[in-house]
């Protein structure tokens, strides 16, 4: 009995310690970001490995998600004789929810895990300590550019996902199932609001970009410097990112679309 309560307390303390370390790291990274603009090559290198390398998976998943939305939406809407609204269904679900959320989930799996593994291995092989020995701050030199790259790449990836998905829905709906082309686009334009939907979707993807890269960078930096520790940290990145994205998505949706 006493042991289990002690165990609980230990876990609770551990959790709050990690939370605190995460926040301190976040503050350090934010402090390190302004100095990065003196060396943009660092950011470009990281945007390449975080953003460009995630491009293909985002492109393909966006296309297929859009096509599936087109098919499923058509099958449901045609029962009510409202297949003209297919464009609205596809565009709104992509721009508001699926674009930012699925992109963030894929991003956590593709780029977040890679970030954690890379930084964790740097720590395990004592590269970070070596940098400190040379009076180079590893947080500014290694962590901050990766964080900034994730923050920059996420909205672009989400926008690509949504745009490709809308065209995938168009391909299936108009090309294969025979929805009227004009109705697809005009209904979409009439019902998708620029500020209310597009901008809010972009804000969501910025928030997810911050959360995913923050978790990835922190888990890597906080990993136990063994091969097992790095593998655990990588798993935790994906799991925690996914949970954080979905919870944050609910909060953001309630804030953005709650009152209307």
């Amino acid at each position: 009995m006493r042991n289990s309560i002690e165990n609980l307390g230990h876990k609770g303390l551990d959790f709050f310690q990690r939370l605190g370390r995460g926040n301190i790291l976040f503050a350090h990274i934010l402090i390190g970001i302004p100095g990065l603009f003196l060396r943009p090559s660092l950011i470009i290198q990281q945007v390449f490995s975080v953003g460009v390398l995630s491009f293909v998976i985002i492109l393909v998943s966006g296309l297929f998600v859009g096509m599936v939305l087109g098919l499923q939406g058509y099958n449901t809407l045609v029962k009510f004789g409202a297949e003209e609204s297919l464009g609205v269904v596809v565009a709104l679900s992509l721009v508001r929810e699926l674009g930012p959320v699925v992109t963030a989930l894929l991003f956590a799996g593709r780029a977040g895990s890679a970030l954690t593994a890379e930084i964790g291995l740097m720590k395990a092989t004592e590269q970070l300590s070596a940098m400190e020995m040379m009076a180079v701050d590893p947080i500014r030199r290694v962590l901050a550019p990766r964080f900034l790259a994730g923050f920059i790449s996420m909205p672009f990836l989400a926008a690509i996902f949504s745009a490709v998905g809308v065209n995938g829905g168009y391909f299936v709906g108009v090309g294969l199932l025979g929805v009227d082309e004009g109705a697809y686009w005009s209904q979409m334009q009439a019902n998708v609001d620029y500020e209310g939907d597009i901008i809010n979707g972009v804000i969501k993807s910025f928030a997810f970009g911050v959360v995913v890269t923050w978790i990835a960078v922190f888990e890597g930096h906080d990993a136990i410097p063994t091969s097992e520790g790095v593998s655990r940290a990588t798993t935790r990145t994906v799991v925690h990112s996914a949970l954080a994205i979905l919870a944050l998505d609910f909060i953001l949706t309630a804030l953005m679309f709650g009152e209307s």
Binding site: G51, V95, F156, A163
Partner: protein, 190 residues
């Protein structure tokens, strides 16, 4: 390891594609391309019933959207809904006696404000005609000459509010009831 130039090139392409997607979402998917901005003049109309009307509902004449509803409020003196709408500046020659009705697009569609053109109401012309008939000199003192158009701050006087389905049904049923009551005990008929 890829050279720095190739990396930079690919990152550049990535950002261009990302921006293009954002641009495509803004122009092709959303209503930004049809959004005319804040240019316009505001007119007001009082409806007995503005149910179903929303801010940003279209204001339509002859099937063409001329503006949007900007505000809906309630007047405690007259118990009417005060609907403010912004009409684009290019449509500055709508006659002053234009009437406003709240219509429904389709059977279950959105509510919108439909405008019907009326007379331009030139008070000088009216006075001249009246004077000619009565055989006196026209007195245009204090009258507004020239055709009158809807402009910033004017009020549309002739309005008809939304038709609520329940009201129509209630009206219909009460009429049925009053015609049936002459026959006595209408409930006993199957």
């Amino acid at each position: 390891m890829m050279t720095t130039r190739t990396t930079e090139l690919l990152v550049g392409i990535f950002i261009v594609i990302g921006s293009a997607s954002l641009f495509m979402l803004a122009m092709q998917v959303s209503n930004l391309s049809t959004y005319s901005g804040d240019e316009g003049f505001e007119v007001e109309a009082r409806f007995t019933d503005a149910s179903g009307l929303k801010v940003r509902s279209p204001v339509v004449m002859a099937g063409v959207t001329l503006g949007r509803v900007t505000n809906i409020s309630f007047d405690e003196q007259t118990f009417k809904a005060v609907v403010k709408m912004k009409i684009e500046n290019q449509y500055s020659k709508l006659p002053i006696k234009t009437s406003a009705n709240i219509y429904t697009a389709g059977l279950l569609g959105e509510k919108y404000v439909g405008l019907l053109p009326g007379s331009v109401d030139d008070q000088c012309e009216d006075e001249k005609l009246a004077a000619e008939l009565e055989g006196r000199a026209p007195d245009t003192q204090g009258l507004e000459c020239g055709p009158q158009y809807l402009a910033q701050g004017t009020t549309i006087e002739f309005t008809q509010g939304s038709l609520v389905l329940e009201k129509l049904i209630a009206q219909f049923v009460s009429q049925m009831g009053s015609s049936d009551s002459k026959k006595d005990e209408p409930e006993e008929h199957p």
